[in-house]
């Protein structure tokens, strides 16, 4: 998965500020400041290679990073239900400027989002935390937020994604996710068992995912094959759920081109077992590639994954994304119906959000929700997935 909302930078600037900048997401540093310069940080490069389990952990020398899970589930009565859980990391300063690791001193800012959606209901919660990258982490008690590579454990307070104690906990294939928010009747959250039914998938060039025509990008891998079972609490009531999940891992020091203003990102589970990730960054495409296009044209990328986990990178010219209809959400127009064409792999599908109200009312707002996928020609349902849209 490509560009996930690393809102943290934006949060860092805006948490207690006024809403002025909210209305101007197309500032020169791109959405949420993700396009700003990253001097002093390490940069994602095409020849970087990934090592596991070490790379499941945090990369504090890069400015931004996330652990991002979305899931399309259904409850006992077959009603669809969507959820999201994300842990974001943001370095407060370049490695050279870090304070000494005295108690409370922090060089990393953490933010976690959770969302649970069914029908017209959409519940959102957000938490913040701090840590110091030089603090030695052996148990979660050592920091308010953090990630331990093995046995895997990512947490912010009691919102935790970790290796399942009962399974082989050296392995990334069995995880438990817990997060709850609210009190009594308004309580919502989930305890889920995640089982990987396929391998990790590296996007782009061995995990390096280019994000702009000028070559900047991120390290990006996914686990799109989660089978999920567990309990979900909604309005204080608990139900048993099961379904499919997608976990994205990405880190970078400069994600966007300064001209890029936002993105549309799709993760799709086809019923035939294929998975598809596609995104477009609005603005920042290569002018020379597309002689007819405007300066600052969109940049598109993606990965088609076979049921066995083989990945086929998709490049800018392979993909055509067309918004078909939009809905009024939270005072703005957001496209909630798309046509996605990838002729090279014979994909021409309609992607539609059944519920337009999946607006994330977090410190940096964005749209994130479940979508259904139909064949463009026949209208036959082909699968489901998640759509994320920022910068609207």
């Amino acid at each position: 998965m490509s560009i996930r909302p690393i809102f943290i930078i934006f949060v860092a600037l805006m948490l207690h500020g006024c809403g002025e900048e909210n209305t101007a997401p197309t500032n020169s540093a791109g959405f949420a400041g993700l396009g700003q310069d990253a001097d002093g940080f390490q940069h994602a490069e095409s020849n970087s290679s990934l090592t596991f389990p070490a790379d499941h952990s945090a990369h504090p020398d890069y400015r931004i990073e996330w652990w991002y899970l979305t899931a399309n589930l259904e409850d006992e009565s077959g009603e669809p239900l969507g959820l999201q859980w994300t842990l974001f990391r943001q370095a407060l300063m370049a490695p050279s400027g870090r304070p000494e690791p005295t108690p409370w001193a922090a060089d990393q800012l953490w933010m976690a989002h959770m969302a649970l959606s069914q029908d017209e209901q959409h519940h959102v919660a957000e938490r913040f935390g701090r840590s110091h990258s030089q603090a030695l982490l052996t148990t979660p008690n050592d920091s308010q937020a953090g990630v331990i590579a093995s046995p895997f454990h990512a947490w912010l307070d009691d919102w935790q994604l970790k290796a399942n104690d009962e399974a082989d906990n050296r392995n990334f294939d069995n995880l438990t996710l817990t997060a709850y928010s609210g009190e009594d009747a308004s309580r919502f959250g989930y305890t889920l068992e995640l089982t990987a039914e396929g391998p990790l998938v590296l996007h782009g060039d061995g995990g390096f995912s280019q994000k702009a025509a000028n070559g900047q990008g991120s390290m990006y891998y996914s686990q799109p094959f989660w089978h999920i079972e567990g309990d979900v609490t909604l309005n204080g009531e608990t139900k048993t759920v099961s379904g499919r999940g997608w976990l994205d891992r990405e880190w970078s020091s400069q994600l966007l081109d300064a001209r890029q203003s936002g993105w549309d990102w799709f993760s799709i589970h086809f019923d035939d077992g294929h998975k598809l990730m596609a995104f477009q960054l609005r603005g920042g495409g290569d002018d020379s590639d597309n002689s007819g296009s405007e300066p600052g044209a969109d940049y598109r990328s993606g990965t088609l994954i076979t049921p066995e986990g083989r990945a086929t990178p998709l490049v800018n010219n392979d993909i055509t994304l067309t918004p078909l209809a939009s809905s009024a959400v939270a005072g703005r127009e957001v496209p909630t119906q798309w046509r996605l064409e990838i002729p090279s792999v014979e994909i021409d599908i309609n992607i539609e959000a059944p519920h337009a109200n999946r607006w994330m009312t977090t410190s940096v707002p964005y749209w994130e929700g479940e979508v259904g996928v139909n064949d463009r020609a026949s209208g036959e349902p082909l699968g489901e997935g998640y759509l994320e849209m920022t910068g609207y």
Binding site: L15, H16, W104, L109, G129
Partner: protein, 835 residues
């Protein structure tokens, strides 16, 4: 109208003294009043800011054993899903020695509707969280840091210990003398390691305290605004007094100015000016003068407030722990209010004068023909008004007797005011009677006879000043005895309470070990462990029925050993001291006087107390005095408090055996437990600190008292100056008849001195009445404690007051007398009798 007005005002051109006196009266009246209002307004603003901050808005968690919480505890709480936030609080000393409160917070976990989120002044969160961090402070904290406002943003002031504060960011909503910064920066400056002062959470997010922790609800923490209300009421009463005294001067000046202009007014009427036009012109004149006087007064009031504010702030800080800014912070309504009060007072003082001007008889050309009968009528009216005031006082007294003392603050002030007013109104009547009697008695001594007869003549002009003097003197005496009495009682009470020569303060978890260790030593004969906790007083069951209360109380545990119980003062018991202490040992409670007063509790009542997870019922066995404590307190035996409320130890008194070596004990304790030098406090040191706090408390009262007295002296001087000319004319014939000038001057001084002396003597019983009112009504209502009425007969207070009265009058008389001395005799006799 302009013509009439300018004609009226031309009087002051010829008599600038009267104008000066009028303005002086307006000035002092509004200066003292607005000064006090400025102090109150500033203090209230500070409270409002402090209330909006953390302490009173957030529930607090502390460890039951009193040990400090750490970073790891905090992480564990967060990981158990509790929405808690860490807070570090400490004190830093600036280079000029001011102590500032430093609060370290974690903005990421502090609930977002808290004051901090409004504290942001466009700075980013990153700047707050990351080195070099930020210090947020209100502009009125800058003075303590030695900074001007313009230089403040970004400055990094040096502290006394050599640390530098992170760059400053101004944040006006913060309370004064408070620095806010990220907890990481605060931990560095306070060298607090991984410890936190407390862990807070948004109100009512936790239903009960986690294991091993104690939860204090925000609602059970009294806000500084509530605690200090009575203090400000006292200040306001003093301000009102000064205002009234100032108005006496205004009234005197206006009366004189009118009397001397009666002829002019008649002429104007005869020339065709309507009565209404005349009143309008006079009112315009008054408003004009009023605005000038009030503006000058408010300006000086602000100055006065600026001078007094540090003392007020110190008092409030030490007495109630309430921070008050050292810089005035005045809302708009302060200015309009001050002007309105001054003009209102002027209108009040001038109503009589305007009424007289309105009833002016055009044809009555004689000037003072009717003054004698007129004055007699005036005295009668004053006598009746005085009687009414006395009846009011008696009514209020009756009301107070049938109401709980806690409700009587306003009525108590009303009673004192009515008493003062009655006395003031009766004073001229009394003086007139005394003088009449003395005049008759001294027929045989012509000069003395003349002097008394002459005093009668002067009385109408002097009586207002004398009334002001009486009020000021009586108040001074009253407040003086109250303060003196309080000091005696307080010191006595301290002696009774502080029975142990040494007091030990240690981390709560160490007390058990220390206790065991001390038990083994010969040099410590008794160990008096105290414990503290908080609870909510839910309800009371008494013989009269059951009531629901719901206020916060302190719980205090003491060890009722043989050295403590015989001395511990008790005000009321159910069946004598010994049975009270026996019941205490078995789990009954004592309540302090202020709680008993506030909630109308008596011995034998049963109290239901609740703390998070705890519900207990206690019987009141006794009521004890607890001077200086602003809140209600329930006393229990230490073991009982530990068992029933899980209260942590707070200190330990050490009673030493006869041959104990304090230094050796101190050293041994330190070696064994590593407590630091400050862990053991001397009894004498505690007494010194406590006494110092109370000395400060009364500094402002005394300062304002002296000012009021000075105003009264000014009133006297002003009335004397105003009639100096008339006086000279009255004295000149005597001189012509062969009374030497020196003798006349001395007589004049003796007259005024005598009048002041009589006033001073009359002020003594009045002062005693006021002391009683302060001690038995105001203090009980305001603070909840009743002091024994201490008087110091024949002692310094009274003598001093009389000396002061005489000195004040002599000084006041000296100036006109000297002028008489210097004036040319020819001029004296040539001056026209009628002005």
């Amino acid at each position: 109208m302009t013509q009439i007005l300018s004609t009226l005002l031309s009087h002051y051109r010829r008599h600038p003294g009267q104008l000066a006196m009028l303005l002086l009266g307006l000035w002092v009246a509004s200066a003292l009043w607005s000064g006090i209002q400025a102090i109150n307004a500033t203090a209230r603003d500070s409270y409002a800011r402090a209330d909006a901050l953390f302490d009173t808005q957030l529930d607090q968690l502390e460890r039951r054993d009193g040990a400090p919480l750490t970073l790891t505890d905090y992480h564990a709480l967060r990981q158990s899903g509790l929405p808690v936030s860490p807070m570090l609080e400490g004190e830093v000393v600036t280079q000029d020695g001011t102590r500032l409160t430093l609060i370290g917070i974690d903005p990421l976990t502090l609930s977002s509707n808290n004051a901090l989120s409004q504290t942001d002044s466009s700075a980013s969160l990153t700047d707050f969280l990351a080195p070099p961090w930020q210090t947020r402070a209100a502009p009125d904290t800058l003075a303590a840091l030695g900074l001007e406002r313009a230089d403040a943003p970004g400055a990094t002031p040096l502290l006394a210990d050599g640390n530098r504060l992170p760059p400053l960011v101004l944040s006006p909503p913060l309370p004064p003398n408070t620095l806010i910064m990220d907890i990481a920066a605060a931990a560095r400056i306070l060298s607090s390691g991984d410890k936190v002062t407390r862990i807070v959470t948004a109100p009512d997010t936790l239903t009960e305290a986690p294991d091993g922790l104690m939860l204090t609800r925000a609602t059970s923490l009294a806000t500084p605004g509530q605690l200090t209300e009575s203090f400000h009421l006292n200040l306001t009463a003093l301000g009102l007094l000064a205002w009234i005294v100032g108005l006496f001067i205004v009234q005197a000046a206006l009366g004189l100015a009118l009397e001397q202009r009666l002829g002019m007014l008649r002429t104007l009427r005869v020339l065709g000016v309507s009565g209404r036009g005349l009143i309008l012109a006079l009112s315009l004149e008054l408003i004009l003068l009023g605005i000038i006087g009030a503006l000058a007064g408010i300006a000086s009031g602000v100055w006065l407030a600026r001078v007094l504010l540090p003392d007020v702030a110190a008092t409030l800080g030490s007495l109630y722990g309430a921070g008050v800014g050292q810089e005035l912070n005045l809302p708009w309504h302060y200015w309009t209010g001050g002007l309105a009060v001054s003009l209102g007072g002027l209108l009040l003082a001038s109503s009589g004068v305007l009424w007289r001007a309105a009833r002016l008889n055009m044809l009555q050309l004689g000037q003072m023909q009717a003054w004698r009968s007129g004055y007699r009528r005036q005295l009668m009216l004053m006598g009746i008004a005085g009687a009414l005031a006395l009846i009011t006082a008696l009514t209020l007294y009756g009301w107070l007797r049938f109401h709980p003392p806690g409700e009587g603050l306003v009525a108590g002030f009303g009673l004192i005011a009515a008493l003062l007013l009655a006395s003031a109104l009766w004073l001229p009547l009394l003086l007139a009677l005394v003088l009449k009697g003395l005049t008759t008695l001294t027929r045989r001594r012509p000069l003395i006879h003349w002097a008394f007869a002459d005093m009668q003549l002067q009385l109408p002009k002097l009586s207002l000043a004398m009334m002001a003097l009486l009020i000021a003197l009586a108040t001074n005496l009253g407040v003086g005895s109250m303060v003196g009495g309080f000091r005696l009682t307080f010191l006595d009470w301290l002696d009774q309470r502080l029975v142990a020569p040494l007091y030990l303060n240690a981390p709560a978890e160490q007390y058990a070990d220390i206790d065991a260790w001390l038990a083994e030593r010969d040099d410590v004969s008794e160990r008096l462990l105290t414990r503290r906790s908080n609870a909510t007083l839910q309800s009371v069951d008494s013989a009269k029925g059951s009531r629901t209360l719901g206020g916060p109380v302190e719980l205090y545990g003491i060890t009722p050993g043989e050295s403590l119980t015989p001395h511990w003062p008790l005000l009321a018991t159910q069946q004598g001291r010994s049975s009270a202490w026996a019941a205490f040992d078995e789990g009954s409670a004592f309540v302090n006087e202020q709680l008993a007063t506030a909630e109308n509790l008596s011995t034998g009542d049963r109290l239901t107390l609740s703390a998070p997870g705890i519900n207990e019922t206690l019987t009141i066995a006794a009521i004890y005095p607890d001077y200086g404590n602003p809140s209600g307190q329930i006393l229990m035996a230490s073991p009982q408090l530990a068992a029933r409320f899980d209260a942590p130890p707070s200190s330990m008194g050490l009673v030493l055996s006869d041959n104990a070596d304090v230094e050796a004990l101190r050293t041994a304790l330190n070696e064994r437990f590593d407590l630091g030098r400050d862990a053991l406090t001397d009894q004498a040191e505690i007494k010194r600190i406590a006494t110092e706090i109370f000395e400060r408390t009364f500094t402002i009262t005394r300062a304002l008292n002296v000012l009021t007295l000075a105003v009264a002296a000014l009133a006297l001087l002003a009335s004397l100056l105003a009639q100096a000319r008339t006086r000279r004319q009255q004295l000149a014939p005597l001189w012509a008849l062969g009374v030497p000038r020196s003798q006349l001057a001395w007589l004049n001084l003796a007259q005024l001195g005598g009048a002041a002396l009589v006033t001073g003597l009359l002020a003594i019983p009045l002062g005693i009445a006021i002391t009683w009112g302060l001690v038995a009504i105001i203090n009980v209502a305001a603070f909840g404690w009743r002091l024994p009425l201490y008087l110091f007969p024949g002692e310094i207070t009274v003598t001093l007051a009389m000396a002061m009265a005489v000195a004040v009058a002599l000084l006041a008389a000296a100036i006109p007398a000297l002028r008489f001395w210097r004036a040319s005799p020819r001029a004296l006799l040539a001056e026209e009798t009628h002005q």
